[in-house]
Symmetry: C2
Subunit: 360 residues, 2 copies
């Protein structure tokens, strides 16, 4: 058992007593990897797992923040507490708000049953997904019923953030090519629920149809490569068997077909339907055993992540290692030694540094 710094011990006691200031301080310690953050997270580990984590992702401008606010407000009306982690650098939560957005945010932020933390974009060591998950862990351990993770759905790190949620909501708006771009960006694969936001705009039906087409639910147009041609050509055909099968299995416990929910971010229309879909998805996760599997997978990934951070930290906090690497630079610059050769030698001389943890 690692010994605990007195101030951290005091903070944990305040956290246990559910003092609101304690959660903010704990989040800051964890987010910035201040000394003892890992000890604290380790101690909180046994209290995690009660919260439902909902990722809200999508391209910039899809209205994710407004949607997050509406969902948070609905949960509050149902008597649930809500933690919000905003990872989107262009999100109003992080300061880029239009006035109307900001006013809506602040109304939510002033509610003591809501905790909002916006995360700055950060370097790769430790990583954005890792930090986001850790902050969500703190909120979970504190006892928030729902944790909303808002993240812009472009880029690899951001997709990883989405994977830390139990339910991932992919938000799109009726604009040309949005469904295709989402497909290419990998959003289609991670979606448990689709939201067509700004559904009062023209093109909403078309977008909904595109999403459903991509999910293989409807007509099922097939992208068939045409010989002697560099592109692909679209050939439509109806596959009634597939449509019937999808309809029959939509409510089965062992299968989930991502529904498409229409919302209007400005008015909040569709929020209830979205929350109902999130609840249905959670029921599916529980009944099918998928929830346990996802959480097991997250624990496994979590160990991999901690191991990686620990290795990096032990290696590069060692002055000897850094000094030795500096001596190797001239030979690498001259093209005489490759980074691979240097890396292998470095690892061979660092066995003891890597395996022996010092108290943090």
């Amino acid at each position: 058992v690692t010994s605990l710094a007195p101030d951290l011990e005091r903070l944990l006691a305040e956290f246990d007593a559910r003092r609101p200031a304690a959660v903010a301080r704990m989040v800051s310690i964890v987010e910035n990897h201040r000394p003892g953050f890992d000890v604290a997270l380790g101690l909180l580990h046994g209290r995690m797992g009660r919260a439902r984590r909902i990722g809200i992702t999508g391209p910039p401008g899809a209205g994710k923040s407004s949607l997050t606010v509406h969902v948070a407000r609905s949960y509050r009306e149902a008597g649930l507490t809500v933690g919000i982690v905003a990872v989107d650098p262009t999100s109003p939560f992080t300061g880029g708000a239009l006035l109307g957005d900001r006013i809506r945010m602040e109304a939510v932020a002033l509610d003591s049953g809501v905790f909002i933390r916006s995360m700055a974009t950060r370097g790769s060591l430790g990583g954005l997904a890792s930090a986001t998950r850790e902050v969500a862990d703190v909120l979970d351990a504190y006892g928030f019923d729902r944790i909303l993770i808002e993240t812009v759905g472009v880029g690899q790190s951001e997709l990883e953030v989405a994977r830390t949620a139990d339910t991932t909501v992919v938000t799109l708006v009726p604009e040309s090519g949005d469904a295709i771009q989402a497909l290419k960006a990998g959003l289609m694969e991670i979606a448990d629920i689709f939201v067509v936001n700004k559904a009062d705009r023209p093109g909403a039906d078309k977008l909904r149809m595109e999403i459903e087409l991509m999910l293989g639910l409807r007509l099922g147009p097939v992208l068939r490569p045409v010989p002697g041609h560099h592109g692909v050509e679209l050939q439509e055909f109806v596959n009634p068997a597939k449509v019937a099968r999808a309809a029959a299995t939509a409510d089965a416990a062992d299968q989930w077909t991502p529904p498409v929910v229409r919302t209007v971010a400005i008015t909040g229309d569709g929020t209830d339907e979205l929350i109902a879909a999130v609840d249905r998805h959670y029921t599916y996760l529980e009944r099918s055993g998928e929830l346990r599997q996802r959480r097991r997978r997250r624990l496994r990934e979590r160990v991999v992540e901690v191991v990686q951070n620990r290795m990096q930290q032990r290696l590069w906090e060692d002055e000897g290692t850094n000094a030795w690497l500096e001596t190797q630079l001239p030979a690498m610059e001259a093209g005489e030694r490759s980074p691979f050769a240097v890396a292998d030698t470095l690892l061979a001389r660092s066995a003891d540094v890597l395996s022996s943890g010092r108290p943090t």
Copy 2:
């Protein structure tokens, strides 16, 4: 010295003989981390460093691909060979082209002095930035004069990709809030040159001014926090000293002020100015010593990256480690052991696996 598989040895000989098919095969081996990729990259290391690497980044829809094509064509007209690495999942290079774009791409792609490789988005192990750099390394070693790296400038991994270039061109289009979003996404910090693309559209002058304002070149409006208020307020003032200083030092060898170049992607207008700016930046890099510093930093980062991949690989390819981790999952699920405790134990029992490299 690690022994080389016979087919890899043959490939390297063909690569040396500058057979075009060899570069494509080598790129595939490296991109997919096939067995021996590290040995091959190690052997090629001494031949790298001749190419100039130019990153072209910006938000989706900024016309990066068209710009890349125009730049590539201009270099070809000047008798230079060009490698293109496209990392943008929404790029026409990766298949999402409109017909006009596609025709322009193909004209370039059919030129034997141009090599194009589009990279799929990939998982975090190994990483996108790492893979992109390695592919660029292969093209560099093969002898391409210019390497253009097209990457969508949203998301952490993508910014890392941009950092592998000698010169980073940030492309924006006159649309509302684009400069602000770019600032927030971290693009302002990595830009060596700005391009205002689609400069024939309304708002191009405004965007150019916004960029220059942000660079602190012009009026220098200052974001001043207002007490008792959650937002910030904009207060404009002119700082003549700063403007004069910037103008005086713009051509000095030891300082670089990112220029703003206007282009029209459809017609190619402004391409010559962009290429001239890239050349000026390279001259600055060389004269100021910054080129050497950047390349040193890249070599250092490269070792860190290889070390990280090697550690991960050795650890998780070890069956014993994985089997042991599985035995720890129930206690973690029950909240009895934390991922931190499991990670520490895992590292303590894996010292030998980590330090001893097996031949790859």
